[in-house]
């Protein structure tokens, strides 16, 4: 359903599927066909074995540049494609290791070279072949794959399309067989969620690039970013655990910030180290802020990171001055405009 670039030029477009059989190759070749019909010079640089009749039909209309066969392995013929200089080249299946004597060790590097040389690449890949997702996917499917594509390659794509279909409409076709239909459905749902979230992360990266390019700061979207204010106080561990749970439920980001305080007692110093270690274990990005003004430092950091929720511990100690003017929590409530503030119990 995607179209030719008429505005900004696009160089790399990826169709992501959550399992084999969801139809990502068909979606990709269908787009190739439409581009061809609109007069774009489209060639096919790689196809997968076991093609559906629909894809076979589309292939009869497109120019195919046959792969080189090295040690019995098909390798994208980068040289031949560069000589041919098409506008668009289709690579079905990115996760292939090339044999040792090839131009590049991995097929995604072949694709990268073609992109770098000005050819638009449209490629497809399944979730299970993303290096950083491999372990999680394996835990779900019980299947081990050896050939992968790094996530960074996907982050470099100008366009990513997730091919989303409900599990029950593909259950008959998918390769993830084994087990009862219920278990298969459960597995497929879990994979589907991962694919959607991965796409959301890539799209979020695109959004950030836009915002930076336009000098826009906050945009309140669907991505939660949670910041925990760490102090030497003892209950920070509970607060960090709660923040971590929240970040997990929202599939959001977790940050922890500490504003340097002078003259910590050895005991406080130790408590602080423990709390920072707990935050690190929870997967938080840690910031050590050196500033006189606690409230100002937290708010400034939160804005720079597009934080949506700040967690701070309730403070029980109030000086007479705090009673009049409000303590740090009161002042943070006042200063944290545009963000939610959660005051955590002592």
């Amino acid at each position: 359903m995607a179209e030719a670039p008429e505005g900004r030029p696009e160089r790399l477009k990826i169709f992501l599927g959550y399992a084999s059989g969801v139809g990502k190759s068909f979606r990709m070749f269908d787009e190739a066909r439409r581009r061809h019909e609109r007069g774009q010079d489209v060639v096919v640089g790689a196809v997968q074995p076991n093609r559906s009749p629909e894809i076979e039909e589309i292939l009869t209309h497109l120019a195919v540049i046959p792969p080189q066969i090295i040690d019995g392995v098909p390798v994208v013929d980068v040289e031949a494609i560069l000589r041919r200089r098409p506008r668009v080249c289709i690579i079905d299946g990115l996760a292939y290791d090339n044999p040792p004597v090839s131009r590049h060790p991995y097929r995604w590097q072949d694709a990268q070279e073609l992109v770098d040389r000005g050819i638009t690449i449209i490629a497809s890949v399944n979730l299970q072949y993303i290096e950083e997702e491999r372990e999680t996917v394996e835990a779900i499917t019980g299947k081990h794959v050896t050939q992968t594509v790094p996530k960074a390659f996907l982050y470099g794509a100008d366009e990513i399309v997730v091919v989303d279909v409900p599990p029950d409409s593909v259950a008959g076709r998918v390769a993830e067989a084994g087990g009862s239909p219920e278990r298969l459905a459960l597995r497929l749902s879990a994979l589907r969620e991962l694919a959607l979230l991965l796409t959301a992360d890539i799209v979020d990266r695109q959004l950030e690039t836009y915002l930076e390019a336009r000098g826009m700061d906050q945009l309140w979207g669907a991505h939660e970013r949670i910041l925990v204010c760490v102090t030497p106080r003892t209950n920070a561990a509970r607060m960090i655990a709660a923040a971590r749970r929240s970040a997990e439920r929202f599939h959001g980001e977790l940050h922890a910030a500490y504003v340097e305080q002078p003259e910590l007692s050895p005991r406080d110093r130790q408590a602080l180290e423990d709390n920072l270690a707990a935050a690190r274990d929870a997967g938080a990005k840690i910031a050590m802020l050196d500033a006189e003004d606690f409230v100002g430092a937290i708010v400034e950091y939160a804005r720079s990171q597009r934080i949506t929720q700040i967690l701070i511990g309730h403070s029980l100690r109030h000086s007479w001055w705090d009673r009049l003017r409000g303590g740090p929590v009161d002042r943070l409530i006042r200063a944290a405009e545009g963000m939610d503030l959660c005051v955590f119990p002592h």
Binding site: V203, Y210, L219, C342
Partner: protein, 379 residues
Amino acid sequence: MPEPTSNRRGRLKVYLGYAAGVGKTYQMLADAQELARSGADVVIGYFESHGRTDTILRSQGLEIVPRRQIEYRGAIFEEMDVDAILRREPRVCLVDELAHTNVPGSGREKRWEDVLALLEHGIDVFTTVNIQHVESLNDQVWHLTGIRVRETVPDWVIKEAAEVVMVDATPQALINRLLRGAVYAPEKARRALENFFKEPTLVALREMALRETAHEVEVRHVTPAIFNEPDGAAAPAAEAAAASTERILVYLTVDASTPLLIRRARRIADYVEAECFAVAVYREGELARTPPERRAETERLLNFARNLHIETRTLEGADVASTLVEFARLQQITQIFLSRPRYGPWRWFLARDLVHRIVRKASDMQTVIVADRGPAQAG
């Protein structure tokens, strides 16, 4: 109206998109055609072609239940004819644009209420909706687009769906489609490109739709082991991890920011799987002195909360902060949600402010001060 023909409740399938023109209706019709080919009894209850040729082509061959005509203020409007569909008793009914508001005199106010009626009668429904119509995202959408979407669907209606499918297209592809005139007529397309269809806005909406679909798809309370245990092992549901014990209480006041507060609390409650309550609090004797308009306004907000499946209460007490916090303790609330106070330049005396007093009193639970986020300065 005919009685339900069976005890079976219909299944709801939602095609979720992030903007007009991504291909929701097209995808729904394509799936319906495939179902019809396999022999299922499929009818179109309501569909909007927007004059798009490929969409019209996709609808051909499917039976359309004629719309019902309703006269309102001297004009004729057409709405879906629920009674006619119920008499026809199809297996599957296609209903475009779930967030639509019916013209007065149609029986039910909202199309999603019509859809619930079809489901109750055992009819499966395929429907389309865009992310900006999801109630709990209304403020984010306003923030991103500057547009306050009036036609919304409560989140729980979408949660009723047995299936949510994300219909995706890249923003660039969508903009190209708009430029080619494939979505709207030229004048409308031009206006759309200047407002809603700016690329960063579309990217942000797309991310929202992806995350929303992922949330609906999520397999909760299972450990990875469940996916690979031999069949016949304990059912996944029985293996549920400890359910959430969070309970959220919204302190509701008559204020422009209150709907935002309610939506935000509802959204967080859904994600952390918390029970959600909302209360309005009057000082002793205040209720009797409150002007009827203000009471009606409170009632309207309580009703808004109830529509989002939030339990509500009205309390009276000598001191508002104490009454609220005592109620929270009694109800074993873990998080109180409050609107961020508005500060004038003279308000340096923070500690006396009601919100700050509640925060102090509720030192044994979390208090969440929700920001009042206005539209972004979109560039």
